[in-house]
């Protein structure tokens, strides 16, 4: 029992943390108490995750939960995103009516869900984790419940999310019908006769739909820009990174043994049964995501479409499905988390400092003159998203693309590179807007533009910027252990 609890310690910490914050909120605790306690629980979970990452994978709770190495690595990324979100959020939401202690409880519950999600070794737990995460995120997305934007974001996310969950659950039931078990290992060990059945294949397909929805792959992406635009900006950053890390991690664990090793043994050389779906969805995601972002005027919508494009690049890892590709995908997840969180955090900061009513591109005009260093930070994250060396985003793309080329997916890579060029244009446009356009909007603001970043933003932004630069220069640092994990898993 103790070992079971220890294995799930990060999740326990965040769950207990969420409950504690709820209780604190009931007693009208001040923000000065709530935020540090949230951070304390998250830091605890982060420490445990880092500690467990060095241990080999083990299972607990009668094979329901897996912990150690790979799962702990994902947990560490997710909890890190949570820490940064908390730091940014407590600063940019100061004084807003929606800024209640429950926000942090919801962040903690969402993280609990994600941890369950990525630790699951059983479809039941996968479903529960995914839904815990989603329900907490529905609440967070609709946090501005007195504004139409906020309600719209929350409700859109909720209805479409529940719709997609229905398909996921239906897929689980099909798979269960075909194999008679919900256990990952049982699915992986299913005989070729079972995996060839229509039920099994359709079940996997429907489960993929749930996955595609969570990572906002085309054509399941429509909610993404709307929800990111309407949600509180720091929360959008959290949604666009942590939940995607969780979805990619969990589905990688689920799908790799089923669709890759088993199928490869029966259909030599043809790859996985899901490869064609993944292939086309990946191409669609990067093309549509990057192309549509050109026509956008709102910074948060741009980042929404950009995250769709990035989902496409990440999906390439699944398509190529070599150890190198998966390792590259994991690295890309780290890079993506750092730079996307950073971009959202900087926009959230500008929104607050300059009193923006929306995050449209015009607001950014002339800001580069007033706050050149802060815009430089934003530019750093934008350049990383665009894939400029020597930043993390560049190495993410480089590793994924080179793995794809090595495995012979030339067309896919060419499409990916072309769409990345289109994407780069958008990010550069944002930088250009901030630095080179004359703007009156920022200068005429009554808010004191000299008001700098508070301690939360400073810590968060420097962590993210340092990470973006560090993983751009020394990209190979986490490489060997990642590759070991991937090889061990496959």
């Amino acid at each position: 029992m103790t070992t079971d609890l220890l294995a799930f310690l990060p999740g326990l910490l965040t769950a207990i943390g969420g409950l504690v914050i709820m209780i604190l909120g009931a007693f009208r605790a001040k923000k000065q108490v709530v935020v540090p306690s949230t951070l304390l629980f998250l830091l605890g979970a982060f420490g445990v995750a880092i500690w467990q990452a060095s241990m080999p994978t083990s299972v607990a709770f009668s094979d329901m939960v897996r912990s150690g190495s790979f799962a702990s690595f994902l947990i560490a990324i997710i909890v890190f995103a949570g820490i940064v979100t908390t730091l940014v959020n407590q600063e940019v939401m100061q004084g807003r009516r929606a800024h209640s202690p429950e926000v942090y409880a919801m962040i903690l519950f969402a993280i609990t869900g994600m941890i369950t999600f990525v630790s699951s070794n059983h479809l039941l737990l996968l479903f529960v984790g995914l839904e815990t995460m989603s329900i907490a995120l529905y609440v967070l997305a609709g946090l501005y419940k007195n504004e139409r934007h906020g309600v719209e974001a929350g409700l859109k996310y909720f209805i479409l999310g529940a719709f997609a969950s229905g398909f996921l659950l239906y897929g689980m039931s099909f798979v269960y019908g075909a194999t008679g078990s919900l256990h990952f290992q049982a699915l992986a060990l299913a005989s070729p006769e079972v995996t060839q059945t229509l039920f099994f294949r359709a079940g996997i397909g429907l489960m993929l739909v749930g996955f595609f929805f969570k990572v906002s792959a085309v054509p399941f992406h429509m909610w993404t820009p709307d929800v990111y635009q309407g949600s509180p900006t720091a929360i959008s950053g959290f949604m666009s990174t942590a939940s995607k890390v969780a979805a990619f991690g969990a589905f990688w664990v689920l799908l790799t043994p089923i669709s890759f090793s088993v199928d490869a043994s029966t259909q030599a050389g043809s790859g996985s049964m899901a490869i064609s779906a993944l292939y086309w969805i990946s191409i669609l995601s990067m093309v549509v995501g990057n192309l549509t972002s050109i026509a956008q005027q709102d910074l948060k919508r741009i980042l929404g479409f950009s995250s769709i494009g990035h989902a496409g690049y990440l999906l390439m890892g699944f398509v190529v499905a070599t150890p190198q590709a998966f390792t590259a995908m994991l690295f890309y997840l780290v890079a993506y988390t750092l730079m996307n969180l950073g971009a959202f955090a900087m926009i959230a900061h500008f929104e607050r400092t300059f009193g923006w009513t929306d995050a449209s591109m015009d607001q950014l005009k002339g800001v580069g003159r007033i706050a050149p260093r802060r815009v430089a930070l934003l530019s750093l994250f934008m350049l990383s998203l665009a894939g400029f060396p020597p930043l993390a985003g560049f190495f993410g793309k480089y590793l994924v693309f080179s793995a794809a080329i090595e495995a012979g997916f030339v067309t896919l890579t060419v499409v990916a590179i072309l769409s990345a060029i289109v994407g780069a244009f958008v990010y550069l446009r944002v930088i250009g807007q901030a630095y080179f356009e004359q703007g009156e909007s920022a200068e005429s603001q009554s808010v004191d533009p000299q008001k700098g970043m508070g301690w939360g933003m400073v810590i968060a932004a420097s962590l993210l910027a340092a990470g973006t630069i560090h993983f751009g220069i020394d990209a190979l640092m986490p490489w060997p252990s990642l590759l070991d994990w991937v090889n061990g898993f496959m």
């Binding site: 309600v151 409700l155 209805i159 659950l169 039931s173 269960y176 019908g177 635009q229 919508r301």
Partner: protein
Amino acid sequence: MISIEWFIALSAVLFTIGAIGVMVRRNAIVLFMCIELMLNAVNISLVAFSSYHGNIEGHMLVLFALSVAAAEAVVGLALIIALFRNTLSVDIRNLTLMRF
């Protein structure tokens, strides 16, 4: 004894009705009910498979799906109330502030 195909067919029909409902209705509450219908359709198939395979895992998933659906109902209805407060209607055509 009714064979398993009937249950699967029933569940498929209910699921499809729910999915089509989500696509054609305009009332947020009805939309929400359609989603509930989809989830319950799945529950039927899960229970059926569970008894077909003779193990309990499907039943357990149904229990969890039900409780998850209850939690979703809480959040969903709260959001719909917030929508009503803002627009004095529950028509989802009002939810097109953010588009393009």
